[in-house]
Symmetry: C2
Subunit: 363 residues, 2 copies
């Protein structure tokens, strides 16, 4: 079989060894005679899985003891509602608008009558190709939080240097660079992430929240209430047990690889290979402001729709899956998460070189 490189923005490539381990024990987990999918969530076998998953995540991200780790459902999109509902009722919620997902977070928060939403910085004026500056003097110190999207999956930008928000907690949608860029959890009030990029299969959402921020208000649904979820150890109802098991295997894999710092180092090296090619090329270019470029999602274009299409077709034929850019940006997008192999980037760069040589002057 030919080698496939999966550049999907999510659900995304998982470590091969993790998939093989899951496969080997899929029908019979630890000689229990049952699949992980068949385990009662109240069983000691599953209890160990969820406890191990939490302990590993705490270790990998150095999560302080005064933070709760929750394994929830509904993706980042449900957090767009849960965050303001739990943290900002009868308060101001401040947002930094850096792309499509920030915009959705803002519009969901705006649907809540009890929350006052304010956008304190935006890069929409230039199609989200840069990270806007965030000024401390624009942050009313009685606000509930400042919401940022640490990595903009569609636009390919990243907030590496966190803004100074004074005493106002920073809330981050970290869906596309959690465990891939080494942030300091204590700098945040709350972090949330859909699992399907750097954690595991779709259908699991990780929330890391400082204890003092939860339990502020009555919440209209137990399932949307961080306090109830925390008190029940993420088992207020049946959690997505198999997804949590897969996340645990991925956490083990990251630890074996040397942890988040090592992941970041490898991700930087992979991204540098591709950015070097983009910056050297006469054909391909990056639409993104240099200092704000994401190491996880790298959009690039030829500037010519027909050439983009031709490149995408050749890439697909060569076994490069899901390289086509998001419809809002066009061109190509390489998503290089933790499990994406360096060899895949090298192969992509080789294809770009060949394509450029063959299409010189076509633009």
């Amino acid at each position: 079989m030919k080698t496939i490189y999966n550049f999907s923005a999510g659900p995304a490539v998982l470590p091969k060894s993790v998939l093989e381990k899951a496969q080997s024990e899929l029908v019979n987990y630890e000689n229990s005679g049952m699949s992980v999918m068949e385990l009662s969530h109240r069983s000691s076998l599953f209890d160990k899985i969820i406890q191990d998953a939490e302990a590993l995540l705490r270790e990998l991200m150095t999560i302080p003891d005064n933070y709760k780790v929750l394994f929830l459902q509904g993706g980042a999109s449900l957090q767009f509602t849960m965050v303001p509902l739990n943290l900002a009722q009868h308060k101001k919620a401040l947002y930094v608008n850096t792309g499509s997902w920030s915009k959705k977070a803002i519009s969901e928060a705006q649907k809540l009558d009890s929350v006052t939403v304010e956008v304190i910085a935006s890069s929409e004026d230039q199609n989200f190709t840069y990270i806007p500056e965030i000024h401390k003097e624009d942050i009313p110190q009685d606000a509930a939080y400042v919401h940022i999207t640490t990595n903009n999956t569609i636009e390919g930008t990243t907030i590496y240097d966190l803004p100074d928000t004074g005493d106002v907690p920073l809330v981050a949608d970290m869906s596309s660079n959690i465990l891939s860029v080494n942030y300091n959890v204590a700098d945040f009030g709350l972090i949330y992430a859909g699992a399907q990029k750097n954690i595991g299969p779709a259908g699991l959402t990780v929330v890391i929240v400082r204890e003092d921020l939860i339990g502020q208000s009555d919440i209209l649904s137990a399932m949307l209430d961080y306090e109830i979820q925390a008190k029940n150890g993420s088992m207020y109802n049946t959690p997505p047990t198999f997804s949590i098991y897969m996340a645990k295997l991925v956490f083990e894999w990251i630890k074996e690889q040397g942890g988040v710092s090592q992941m970041e180092k490898q991700n930087k090296a992979k991204a540098a290979l591709l950015y070097d090619e983009i910056d050297t090329s006469q054909l391909f270019s990056s639409p993104v402001n240099k200092k704000d470029r994401s190491i996880n999602n790298i959009p690039f274009v030829t500037g010519d729709d027909a050439l983009d299409k031709k490149f995408n077709q050749e890439a697909l034929a060569a076994g490069f899956e899901n390289l086509k850019g998001h419809r809002s940006v066009g061109g190509m997008r390489a998503s290089l998460y933790n499990a994406f192999p360096e060899a895949g980037v090298e192969a992509l760069v080789a294809l770009m070189k060949t394509f450029e040589a063959e299409n010189k002057g076509a633009k």
Copy 2:
């Protein structure tokens, strides 16, 4: 390895052939070089999976064309909020209280200011051991719906004969007997079910809703809005892709077995084996009113806590997992879903006979 029988109420036993198929293609789905977990939800491979899953479910349950099928997250517990939020704002929502899960559905609906909740029948007076009568004259015909729990997982009762609600739609939490008892979908306005009993792994929720019932009100969150979910084919955000794939495999298996009628026939036969033993026994008894007994969840007791404990210990040692009764009922509970083999019931009955002979007079 000794044979294990998994009596778990959910997550529950899955068909062995389904698990083996999932295992065989876990690392490389249909020679794509990718796991199902690694497929983009926008890919043609996954699109076929979700389309097939829906088509199979429509076929198995004979779902009329004017019903939407949604694959959501959050379990029945999130539906406790979504149902009244979508169907009953500024209206009356009527509930039948038949057990622990009905009670939760009621209390979640009561949290919504815009919904007026009324309980029209209850069996709480006798510890939920029977199904109360529902009188049409107690149903105001301007109510949004009558909510029932078709099968009470903890208490072991089932509503086999649906109440006459006139023009008021019937809404059903069918989590523990969907695809196991053959209901007529057209008799309901909305059906919802957590997947982890008769459908697949935890983390997937199926909603079947009559089109004219959705889009009635503004909903405070896109993720909680049936209309938005329906318009986006359950892909407003990334759905739980692997769980949907597993559900598809289970639907295929049910079809191969002969469909829902055949499942019901087999489930009745399995349940009859156990109820016959309970009713013949001098030691074991069922706390449930005979005509309301569930064929899916069968609680039974000796009436003596020490003997219950002894039986549970012997059962566990014999490879009968998760037979211990729910803490609110005590004793034992055998959950016999579609994938639970008849041989497991026969083995349980044999153990009960032996135990009774050995413990004659101990009570």
